[in-house]
């Protein structure tokens, strides 16, 4: 199941309203912003995970993804730009 980040009606950023515990059935309600990383698209999140698993080596990432080094760096730059935009909101 995918975690929705945008409102299906108006495309606005969704916020976390409640969190629950499966073990003791405790429910916490409030209004929490989604973490920045959670707001990224599934492809982008997958890219970030691979980046961390490759110890931040874009060279290894490029081999892993079958892409050229500048293409992988461009993907990272685009994600960095997106994260900065979310942080400024």
């Amino acid at each position: 199941m995918k975690l929705p980040c945008k409102c299906p009606s108006c495309d606005n950023q969704l916020k976390v309203k409640s969190l629950s515990c499966d073990k003791c059935e405790t429910e916490v309600t409030g209004t929490y912003n989604l973490p920045v990383l959670a707001r990224l698209l599934p492809d982008e999140q997958s890219f970030m995970l691979k980046f961390i698993k490759n110890s931040g080596s874009l060279k290894d990432m490029a081999k892993d993804l079958g892409l050229s080094y500048p293409t992988v760096r461009n993907l990272l730059d685009d994600i960095i730009k997106k994260i900065k935009t979310y942080e400024n909101q």
């Binding site: 892409l67 050229s68 080094y69 500048p70 293409t71 760096r73 461009n74 730059d77």
Partner: protein
């Protein structure tokens, strides 16, 4: 889907290959392009330029690498100004070199079309109104076909350069278009100027009396170059005075058969009809040597054009070849 992916790689392979890999593959492709092009009688003396030429292979390499070096530097600088992210020089260099791949098509076609040079020259002369023999249907087909191929290759190359810059420098949209267009334009102009000086320098180092050594074979003959050149000058004067018998007397047996006096008269008359009479024979004879043959070039002025007589002397000091060539 797979076909689309393969097709997209033709115009943007740089998502898969860049950096040192692209540099090596690009260099190999360019070396092959120059060598095959040289064999086919063409030279790539600019970013887009392609000309018919019998220039030496070394010169073909020099002008090609000058134009590519300028192109890479220009695009790198343009991208540095316009890009908001950092990028590597080797990615720019590698992807730009790889972008030259379409030009190998032109080299291959030139090699496989032995009539390219003659057809192109016939069409050019016909267009300028100075053709002795008008271009025929074959000439026009070859000329137009090769020109169309050049246009396709140029468009393909420009697309590859755009994608190379977009991918290696993370430029998109208008910025990528500006970087590509300005880089190509400036590189073409700068390369043309530098190559002009290089070509001029390579021509000016040849002085009258210098012998362009095509071969180091020792020529067996009892005459020195000064004597050969004097014979050439004397023959040129006889031709100017329409004493063709004297020229023919100096032909070897094969030349006498190939070019009897009547044929020689016809050729000279057709030249006279096109360019007017010979007004002056210059005295600055230049030479070349091809194995055991020595060549003397005698510059001359027709009323409307400057040409050269090319006398090819064998070891018996007889004329094994006689041509009228451009300067």
């Amino acid at each position: 889907m797979k076909t689309n992916n393969k097709l997209s790689l033709l115009f943007n392979p740089f998502t898969k290959i860049a950096g040192s890999k692209a540099l090596i593959v690009g260099l190999i492709v360019i070396i092959l392009t120059v060598i095959i092009g040289h064999s086919g009688g063409i030279i790539f003396n600019g970013v887009f330029d392609i000309h018919l030429s019998s220039a030496k292979l070394q010169l073909c390499f020099v002008v090609q690498f000058i134009s590519l070096a300028i192109l890479i530097l220009t695009l790198f600088v343009a991208a540095k100004i316009l890009s908001k992210t950092s990028f590597r020089f080797i990615d720019v260099a590698g992807t730009i070199l790889l972008s030259r791949t379409p030009f190998v098509l032109l080299s291959l076609v030139a090699l496989l079309l032995p009539t390219l040079a003659s057809s192109s020259n016939n069409v050019s002369r016909s267009l300028m109104g100075i053709a002795i023999v008008p271009a025929n249907a074959h000439d026009w087909t070859v000329f137009i076909g090769f020109t169309l191929l050049c246009v396709i290759v140029w468009l393909w190359f420009a697309t590859l350069v755009y994608n190379a810059i977009a991918e290696s420098c993370n430029l998109r949209g208008v910025r990528a278009i500006i970087a590509t267009t300005s880089g190509l334009l400036i590189a073409e102009i700068v390369a043309a100027v530098i190559i002009f000086f290089v070509l001029t320098a390579s021509l000016s180092t040849a002085k009258p009396g210098d012998v362009a050594q095509v071969s180091t074979t020792q020529v067996e003959s009892n005459l020195a170059y000064d004597d050969i050149n004097q014979i050439a000058l004397n023959l040129a004067e006889e031709i100017k005075n329409k004493n063709y018998k004297v020229l023919i007397a100096n032909f070897d047996s094969e030349m006498k058969t190939a070019m009897p006096e009547t044929k020689l008269e016809q050729v000279m008359l057709s030249l006279e009809n096109e360019y007017g009479e010979i007004t002056q024979i210059e005295t600055e004879v230049t030479n070349e040597q091809h194995t055991n043959f020595r060549v003397a070039f005698v510059p001359l002025h027709y009323k409307e054009v400057h040409l050269r007589f090319k006398f090819v002397f064998d070891t018996n000091n007889q004329i094994a070849g006689f041509f009228i060539v451009a300067l």
